[in-house]
Symmetry: C2
């Protein structure tokens, strides 16, 4: 099963942008020309470019053409895309993230967790707290709830490595969608102890509910970081 053509075309155009073959704020070849070059229909080229536009690599003006986006000038070191669907380790760069399991139990879900994960009160969940370290430095505390029936046979071995990898490769499941909330709050005891937050250090929290592609809720979690170690970014296009 080969990759879809529009994905391949998108990858090739992306490569050309990254390599400098197409320059910032300059026009791409028109869709008909690209279609001929790649030996595909115009619609396939449009689909490829639409994907790149959603990600912010190009922007279009009807009547004029498709332009390569200039680099965004306000990038920061603490930036983390708020639209990831991978584990922290792949997100931050392989091998930089390690984990320390602070809490790992199986419990019947509270009414709130029942609601969030669409569970009956006799369907147990894992209750997991992990300290995640980046290059050995503590930087996130993750509190995660997952249904046992959806993610069976979790153990500390998996938790200290990558739960994402386990779900994806061993269970062969795929994340479908996520609802995320970003908020600020005051530090709690765990923040102070493990992230060395001072009493007046603001905390940044990402709360999320994640579903599999088949519609099953698979994770409810909140991740807390010190205000000076993390920020979340979103790119939005008004045309979609």
């Amino acid at each position: 099963m080969p990759t879809a053509k529009y994905i391949q075309v998108a990858q090739e155009i992306k490569k050309r942008i990254k390599s400098g073959q197409y320059h910032p704020d300059e026009l791409l070849p028109d869709q008909e020309t690209l279609a001929k070059e790649f030996g595909v229909s115009r619609l396939t080229v449009k689909k490829a470019i639409d994907g790149l536009e959603r990600k912010g690599l190009v922007y279009k003006q009807s009547g004029l053409g498709t332009y390569v986006s200039a680099p965004i000038p306000i990038k920061s070191k603490t930036d983390t895309p708020a639209n990831f669907f991978m584990g922290l380790d792949t997100e931050m760069g392989k091998g930089r993230v390690t984990s320390q399991v602070l809490h790992f139990t199986v419990e019947f879900p509270s009414p709130e967790i029942q609601k969030n994960l669409s569970l009956k009160k006799n369907e147990p969940v894992y209750d997991i707290i992990r300290l995640r370290l980046l290059d050995g430095e503590p930087f996130v505390i993750e509190h995660t709830f997952m249904p046992l029936k959806t993610v069976p046979d979790l153990d500390e071995e998996i938790l200290s490595k990558s739960v994402y990898h386990y779900i994806h490769h061993d269970l062969n499941l795929k994340f479908g969608r996520a609802y995320r909330r970003i908020l600020a709050s005051k530090p709690d005891d765990l923040d102070k102890k493990f992230l060395h937050a001072a009493p007046d250090d603001p905390m940044l929290e990402l709360e999320q509910l994640v579903w599999l592609t088949n519609g099953t809720p698979v994770e409810y979690s909140y991740s807390r970081s010190r205000y000076d170690s993390r920020s979340y970014t979103v790119f939005e296009n008004n045309r979609f």
Copy 2:
């Protein structure tokens, strides 16, 4: 110039979901059936449904069909979508937002602002600080920079109403894309004075760079709220 068919179809399907004609976690009619009903091609129906899927109203499983999403159980009162492109007033509900202009000058841009808004050092910008009130209660301080050449003739009258409306309707310009960063920080003097933030109250900040559809940077701004009055939400679909 009528609205595109796929938009109309999407609106009709959305209406049916909202009205309860299609139920949560149940299948929609298949695309062929909907295409016949609406008198359009299947691709047009697919395009409509894709849009709804991106917004989270439905989810699809190849081989099975399209399901209506169940309501998200973790909504909160302070939630604000992080993907808006409207003014605060339309975002929060008409007429609830008022504004107090704390600062309004025209200046040559600092090197940082030059970079963010792609300006030469002799191209002036507005430097605007506004206190936004919701139902009369202070809840956001917005610090905004906009190029004078792109948004001419701004005045306090417009600032106290809706800059968005002015840009959109009077200048006939349209926002195209935005890069946003969400972060936590300690309160500054303005936060303490106008938002009544205590010294240890965390602040939530949204920093953003906005472009018009023609690629021109039009706004660099940061908006600060007290941690207990605001949170930002994102919905993501892994398929796009």
